[in-house]
C-alpha cells in the first residue's frame, strides 16, 4: 500500500476532476469547492515549510561539522530566525510589524533586486565575447534581436520604420513561432498529466 494507495488516490481524484469539468453536478461542485479547492492550500503551507526545515537542517549540519564557509550558515540562521520571530510575533504584537516591514524593504528587496541586476553585466559580456553570426540562423536571430532592441530608439525619420518592423516581427513570425511552441507545450502537459493519473509516470513517489 506504500505505492499502490497513492496511485489509487491520484487516479480517482484525477479522473473525478476531469469529469467534474464537463459535468458540473451540484454534488461534484460541492466536492470541487469545499475539498478540492479549499484543502490543498493548507497542505501547501506545510509543504513550503518543508523547504525552511530543510534549510535549517543543512545550515545546522554545516555549523556542527565546521564545513567550508560554515560561518555564513550562522548568518543564514540569524536571518531566518529573526525574520520569522518578528513576523509571527508581530502578528500578535503589532509594534513589531515595523521591524518586519523594515527587514523586507531594506534587506530582502535590495539584495534580491541587485542579484538579478547582475545579469545585465553578464549579458553585456556575452554580447562582446560570444554572440557571433556563425551561421545563417544565428544571423537571423541577431538581426531580429537588434531590430526589437531598437524599437524605442529616437532615430528621427527611421523611428517609425524600425517601430513598424519590430511590430511586424512580434505580431507575425514571433507569434507563429511561439504558437507552435505553445501547442507542443500544451500537448506535453496534457500527456504528462495523463501519465501521472494513469500511474505510468511515478517519479514523484520517490524510492522505497
Amino acid at each position: 500500500m506504500k505505492r499502490q494507495f497513492p496511485l489509487i488516490i491520484i487516479f480517482s481524484l484525477g479522473l473525478f476532476m476531469v469529469v467534474q469539468y464537463f459535468v458540473p453536478h451540484e454534488k461534484s461542485e460541492f466536492f470541487y469547492e469545499f475539498i478540492a479547492l479549499d484543502w490543498p492550500p493548507i497542505i501547501g503551507a506545510f509543504a513550503l515549510m518543508l523547504g525552511v526545515i530543510s534549510l535549517t537542517r543543512v545550515s545546522i549540519t554545516k555549523i556542527k561539522r565546521k564545513k567550508e564557509a560554515w560561518g555564513y550558515s550562522i548568518v543564514t540562521l540569524i536571518g531566518l530566525f529573526t525574520m520569522s520571530a518578528v513576523g509571527v510575533v508581530g502578528y500578535h504584537y503589532p509594534p513589531l510589524t515595523r521591524a518586519f516591514n523594515w527587514n523586507f524593504n531594506n534587506i530582502m528587496i535590495p539584495i534580491s533586486a541587485t542579484m538579478f541586476s547582475l545579469l545585465a553585466f553578464f549579458i553585456a559580456s556575452a554580447a562582446y565575447r560570444a554572440f557571433r553570426a556563425r551561421s545563417v540562423l544565428a544571423t537571423i536571430l541577431l538581426v531580429a534581436a537588434i531590430i526589437v532592441m531598437m524599437r524605442f530608439f529616437p532615430l528621427g525619420p527611421l523611428t517609425s520604420v524600425v517601430g513598424r518592423a519590430s511590430d511586424w516581427i512580434l505580431n507575425v513570425p514571433n507569434l507563429a513561432a511561439k504558437r507552435a511552441i505553445l501547442i507542443g507545450v500544451g500537448l506535453g502537459i496534457v500527456s504528462t498529466a495523463m501519465k501521472v493519473i494513469l500511474g505510468i509516470e511515478r517519479s514523484y513517489l520517490g524510492k522505497d
Binding site: L37, A124, M149, F152, N174
Partner: protein, 289 residues
C-alpha cells in the same frame, strides 16, 4: 605580414581583455545616463493602449481584480505598471481587489498599495480606504487552485483579507462573489502565474484578462493576444513606461527607458564589434595568415 599580424593581435587583444572592464564600462554608462536624465518620447503600442482604453471605459464603482504575482527581483519592471494601474483605478473610483500569489510578494504589494493611496491623497485630499475602495487579499500557496477557487467564490481561498479582516465584513465585498462580479483581471507577473491566469482564470471562467509581464516573458504571450484570450500586454519596462505615459504620470519607467537607449546601444555595439572581430579573424585564418 607584420601589419597583418599586428591587426590580428588587435582583435585578439580586444577579446582577451578582462571581462571586468566590460562590466565597468556598462556600469559607468548607466550611472552617467541616470545622472544626466535624458528624455525620449515613448511610443505607445496597441497592446498597452487597449488596456488603457478598457480601463478608461469603466465606470465609477466597477470592480477589477489586480493580481500582483511577482517578487522583489522583478520590481524594476513591474512595480511602475502596478503604480500606474492603481493610480488610474483610484482616479476613476474603480474598486480594486488585489492578490499577490507569489510567496515573496505580499509585503511589496502592501507597500505599493500604501504608496498609491498616499499619492492619491496628495493629489486629491482623499486617501483610498481598505475595504471601501480596495481590498488586499494577500497570498495563499498553490496559485492554480487559488485562481480556480476565486472563480467559484473569493471566500473559499480568502475567508479574510491580508490584514485578517473577514471578507464579509468589508463593505466593498458585499455582493461580490467571484470573477463574474469583476470587469477584468489585470495580472502583473514575473512567473508562470500568467499562464495559470490564462488557462484557469480565463480558460474556465472567461474573465477578461490583460497582462503585464517582464521583458523575458512578453514575446511568449502574443499568440494569446491574437486569439483574444488576453486583451492587452504590457511588456517589461517599455510597457510600464507606455502605461505611465498614458495615465499622465511619467515616473521611474519613463526615466529608465531613456537609460535603456544607452544600455541597448552598448549591447548592440558590443555585438557588432564582436562580429567584426570574428569575421576579420576568420578571414585571416582562411587566408592562412
Amino acid at each position: 605580414m607584420a601589419e597583418n599580424n599586428s591587426r590580428k593581435n588587435i582583435f585578439e587583444r580586444m577579446f582577451a581583455i578582462d571581462r571586468r572592464w566590460v562590466y565597468g564600462f556598462l556600469m559607468l554608462a548607466v550611472v552617467l545616463s541616470v545622472i544626466a536624465k535624458p528624455i525620449i518620447p515613448i511610443p505607445i503600442s496597441r497592446e498597452a493602449r487597449s488596456i488603457y482604453d478598457f480601463m478608461n471605459s469603466l465606470n465609477s464603482g466597477d470592480y477589477i481584480h489586480l493580481a500582483m504575482d511577482y517578487d522583489p527581483s522583478t520590481l524594476a519592471e513591474l512595480h511602475p505598471m502596478t503604480r500606474a494601474v492603481l493610480k488610474q483605478c483610484f482616479e476613476k473610483k474603480i474598486k480594486v481587489i488585489i492578490t499577490a500569489l507569489h510567496q515573496n510578494g505580499p509585503g511589496m504589494a502592501a507597500a505599493a498599495i500604501d504608496t498609491a493611496c498616499q499619492r492619491h491623497f496628495e493629489l486629491t485630499g482623499y486617501r483610498p480606504e481598505s475595504g471601501k475602495d480596495w481590498v488586499f487579499l494577500g497570498y495563499k500557496p498553490y496559485p492554480i487552485l487559488i485562481i480556480l477557487g476565486m472563480g467559484q467564490n473569493y471566500r473559499i481561498p480568502f475567508p479574510n483579507d491580508y490584514y485578517n479582516v473577514p471578507l464579509d465584513s468589508l463593505p466593498m465585498m458585499n455582493g461580490i462573489r467571484n470573477y463574474q462580479n469583476v470587469k477584468a483581471v489585470i495580472n502583473i507577473s514575473a512567473t508562470s502565474a500568467t499562464d495559470w491566469w490564462i488557462t484557469y482564470g480565463n480558460g474556465r471562467y472567461q474573465v477578461p484578462l490583460a497582462i503585464g509581464v517582464t521583458g523575458v516573458m512578453a514575446t511568449d504571450y502574443y499568440p494569446y493576444l491574437q486569439t483574444g484570450q488576453i486583451f492587452g500586454i504590457l511588456g517589461g519596462l517599455q510597457g510600464a513606461a507606455e502605461y505611465e505615459t498614458l495615465v499622465g504620470t511619467p515616473g521611474k519607467a519613463v526615466e529608465g527607458m531613456s537609460v535603456q537607449v544607452v544600455g541597448h546601444s552598448i549591447i548592440i555595439i558590443f555585438i557588432i564589434i564582436g562580429n567584426i572581430g570574428y569575421f576579420a579573424t576568420r578571414k585571416k585564418s582562411k587566408l592562412g595568415l
